[in-house]
Symmetry: C2
Subunit: 466 residues, 2 copies
Amino acid sequence: MDRTVDVAIIGAGTAGLYSLREVRKVTTNFVVINGGHDGTTCARVGCMPSKVLVQAAEDFHRRTQFNDMGIRGGEQLQIDIPAVLKHVRKLRDNFVGRVLGNVSKLGDKKINGYAEFVEPTVLKVNGQHIQAKKVIIATGSTPVIPQAWQNFEDKILTTDQLFEQEDLPPKMAVLGLGVIGLEIGQALARLGIQLTGIDMLTTIAGLQDPQINQVAIELMQQECSLWLGKAAEIRAEGNQLRVQSGEQSVVVDKVLASLGRRPNLAGLGLEKLGCTLDKNSVPMFNSNTMQIDDLPVFIAGDANGERALLHEASDEGRIAGFNAVHDDTQFFKRKPKFGITFCDPNIVAVGEGWSTLQTRSDIAVGEMNFQPQGRALIMGKNKGLMRVYGQQQTGKLLGAEMIVPKGENLGHLLVWAIQQEMTVFDLLKMTFYHPVVEEGLQNALADLASKVDSHQQTGIPELDYL
Amino acid sequence: MDRTVDVAIIGAGTAGLYSLREVRKVTTNFVVINGGHDGTTCARVGCMPSKVLVQAAEDFHRRTQFNDMGIRGGEQLQIDIPAVLKHVRKLRDNFVGRVLGNVSKLGDKKINGYAEFVEPTVLKVNGQHIQAKKVIIATGSTPVIPQAWQNFEDKILTTDQLFEQEDLPPKMAVLGLGVIGLEIGQALARLGIQLTGIDMLTTIAGLQDPQINQVAIELMQQECSLWLGKAAEIRAEGNQLRVQSGEQSVVVDKVLASLGRRPNLAGLGLEKLGCTLDKNSVPMFNSNTMQIDDLPVFIAGDANGERALLHEASDEGRIAGFNAVHDDTQFFKRKPKFGITFCDPNIVAVGEGWSTLQTRSDIAVGEMNFQPQGRALIMGKNKGLMRVYGQQQTGKLLGAEMIVPKGENLGHLLVWAIQQEMTVFDLLKMTFYHPVVEEGLQNALADLASKVDSHQQTGIPELDYL
């Protein structure tokens, strides 16, 4: 054995680095093994650069409101896409730099290379063998591209390549309108690219509530073509690509493939663990402990294919790290579901989704159309719909879906409320300033309260007795 | 007696109309007496039109970020101030119209005229006498202008006149940099008006925390001149006004006087109530019942001079209305303090203020500088400071002050937390998405937690055991 450690962490992304925080509280005898680029998916090719692109696109799009407000000359604004992409990379380098700064301090506890299991507690890296009492798999994920499309080479982009482009062409298609495809697709359309968005599903951004999905499709279609419900095929046409979806087809210069991400597990030698794999070849694990079977091996973050979100990866990293350095495996509570698509208006899903709730007979729904919402009107962003779901008898808040301005902020109020098991009546006693979009949430909650059985019969519903 | 009613509500503004909601649940025998314009202060001359002006100014100011982001031609944008003011009035008319719609349905229960007390339960209006079992005073407030300045006539504006202007002149001064003066002053500066802001205090926006005040002054001074700490004097100079503050003086075309608002109580005949008046000639009242002494008279909203905020006026209206129609006077819990100045970045104060807290020895403070905050950097708004105050032993959240981007939204999370008596440890278990400004709040809370005595010793501080 070339080296013996308490914990080996495979992967220096978000999950790996958060697991390190917990490991370090107990031992200094660990290694972090990382193959490929340093820097998290989030900072390099995910959340951060995409939000910079979205911000530039939103600022440029804002000119369409200028005349109404008394700002003249908006029609003369021009977008300089190479400069936008440069700006994206400049901020990205800042964010990646912060991560690299932390990793570089690890010294010889950091090994650059791809790890492979020899046994559950023995890894091979760069030809050397490492014995680890506990191993944490935090190898992240990679965008999916179908085999057939790999012939089209640089005409098919994923988020791994998009932000590296020096320029973007006049016509593009986005294949896959989940969270990533939709927010980047809208941004590209707003930057002046003739954009077609395609998905084989009839829902976008993973929405479950048919009413929210309907409004979201209508709002997005005001800015680009959406072809839903049929799979896409691609064939070369001259120096371009023809993208076909059912009867419809379009010739584009490039395609952004946003078909999801696959855990980076190939080559790890998982067969040496002797554990059960799920249908996606991911080891079965417990999401409250992050442990694989009863092995001394944990799997956290995108690598386990469950909740590909930074705040979940950081929780999973912490849990895996904690359990890797404590003898008794602890079960930790996980957070309510919370997803944001940073399109404009924001699409947000919180708590239990409509697909499960609609099968229950004890659900009340509150609604708020943001068309007349005061502050949204002032912002020139009075579009969208919010639906909040509560338990019929008690008014306990269960979930919500929405496409509304500042949904990302309203979503935090809702997810905190669900985490605290608040009822709609508790919520209506909270403070709502004026004039703010939070009052739109207040309206949705008031609508929900009016449909719940257990109305308060005395006093003022919005106020507590002293 | 010309008319006998259960309840007479004097004033059809926010407080009056919210009291009506509660009164109506019990009786249909009421009158609403309103002198002067219909429509609330908020909708006519307050929150709503000011926010429209602020929005246009912020959108115009945004051009200063365009080149960095890759948007070209921003320097050619022009502001059309008459069009901005028209836009303000158009939206204002929409908001006022919603209020008027409700009031017009009152029919002969609405009396246009100024009420005067003859006895605590007898009012005189338009020469007629009304006997009311209970009376609610909700007469609102009016901007203060010193007597000496009334000679300058239309060169001194208050918010009553500002939004009625057809155009605005090149040079203005704002006297009084409280919430209203500061947000409108910044907006005027951003619309290209050469602006001088003056206050006799050395604090702006009512800030109590010296560090937040310092940062706020620095940020506002990047956009206009601020003269603090000395009272202003005005004298005519040709067709203009010379405004002097200590050694400094400036010649301006118009002045916005934002020196506060005074309750509309003159002419009500309050002496007939036989109640004690405070130093501002406002009747002493109980802010949990809104009752004046043990009289059958209540006072709600701006009229009582206590909390001139719409959400407080609506609570006070509800409380006054409820107690006016119930025999046993109920004491209601009031909300934590919450104030927002809608300048950019937002200035927000929540809960207990620094002036009271600094006298205590058991306070811990968490801080977050928003300069490196990820999402704020992406938005090009990475400026500001947040300070959160907690109880030293327990970490119970007590208050916060900040000047930060999206402070209005972060303030809601904080005020809800204070209302629920959460500790900083409870808060750190809540969900924070990525990348959002809420993570800046998370950092401030983490800093606070590190300074509180009762750190959690086992497990992961951010997660609960299942």
